[in-house]
Symmetry: C2
Subunit: 218 residues, 2 copies
């Protein structure tokens, strides 16, 4: 864990929060983390300030920094917003997308298909992200693209598990094809609905997963 500079520390901490090194509500001890990173408290505090604006930690004055993992309710809300954001991207992309970009999208989906045939869910996940990112980009609105990428990144750790559901990759592929078809025909409403449903399914899967966990815990 030899890392220098305040901005890199923020990224490292972000990663550690995402991969579950810290649980929800954990206090981030400044001196402890500072010596772990081999820096003083000053750059570490600057990193914490950044994480607070990203919503990953809560900064309570005179008390410290606490990691703030989204709860089930907030996650559902975020999935709902993600679905709507992607629907907007699709609607805009349906009108603005070039033929070259459509070809690129089909290529991305082909790579998804290969990953699915190899039953490689990690690879599928990576290619799937590129498929979606292509649609964000082709919305022709960089601000929308950036916002979508931000939320995609934020939801990544929670989305990832879902591909391990049996048959999910195959279903996802089918939905991709419907999306490509709608974008090809330039039908913006169909594209928006297809993408919204595609993402919403993941949110619902997540909901049932959470319900299962909750039932198991009681």
């Amino acid at each position: 864990m030899e890392q220098r500079s305040a901005v890199n520390i923020a990224n490292s901490l972000e990663h550690m929060i995402f991969d579950g090194t810290f649980a929800d509500g954990d206090r981030l001890d400044e001196v402890r983390l500072a010596e772990q990173f081999g820096v003083s408290r000053t750059p570490l505090r600057e990193a914490l300030q950044r994480l607070e604006s990203s919503g990953l930690v809560t900064l309570i004055p005179r008390r410290g920094a606490f990691v703030r993992q989204p709860g089930p309710l907030e996650l559902l809300e975020m999935f709902e917003v993600m679905a709507e954001l992607e629907a907007v991207c699709a609607r805009l992309a349906a009108r603005r997308m070039s033929n070259e970009a459509l070809e690129e999208l089909r290529h991305a989906n082909t790579r998804c298909q290969m990953a699915a045939e190899a039953q490689d869910s990690d690879l599928y996940y990576a290619e799937n992200e590129r498929f979606h990112a292509t649609i964000y980009r082709e919305s022709g609105n960089s601000f929308l693209e950036q916002e979508s990428l931000k939320l995609q990144k934020r939801l990544r750790p929670f989305r990832r598990q879902q591909l391990r559901f049996r048959g999910r990759m195959a279903q996802s592929l089918t939905e991709h094809e419907a999306i490509v078809a709608a974008l090809t025909s330039g039908d913006s409403n169909a594209a928006a609905n297809a993408l919204r449903d595609h993402v919403t399914v993941q949110g619902e899967r997540f909901q049932s997963l959470m319900a299962g966990l909750k039932a198991a815990a009681s």
Copy 2:
């Protein structure tokens, strides 16, 4: 300008960037600002880190902090996203809104009307924001509400000017009534379209304003 604590400094700087105290590309001198605020460089730097994640300044390593005002293109993109976000809020609110909330919305619109009759564009602006914020809240999705409020805040300085166009307040009011009607009937598509158009008009006004400025400058 007697202000203490890092988080307050961030808010003050944000305000100063919004109200045009700093122009696009201006370098924010740490020592200069520190003594203006009557603090040391440490809390001021922490404030700058926060502003960077909000996208208001760019932090170039070993060079300093530079204010980053969105250009005409980026502003149009932001208006487009705002329109779509509000459309989503409206679609969800149309299904989820309670009768009490609808009543509250009508009240908010009544206050807008009073402000319009008094030709008080500042008051109209404030009441208009509350009208919109009510719809965000009634989307029943706090995450969406927060994101919408963030973008609303970001676009505030640019939106504000538009109400000074002759007849804009009256037109805005008419559009509000269409929105309230759609929400009352629970027609989510109509509500989404009404709100999208309502916001898009502002973006287009802004575009023509920018075009005018550009033409005048050449």
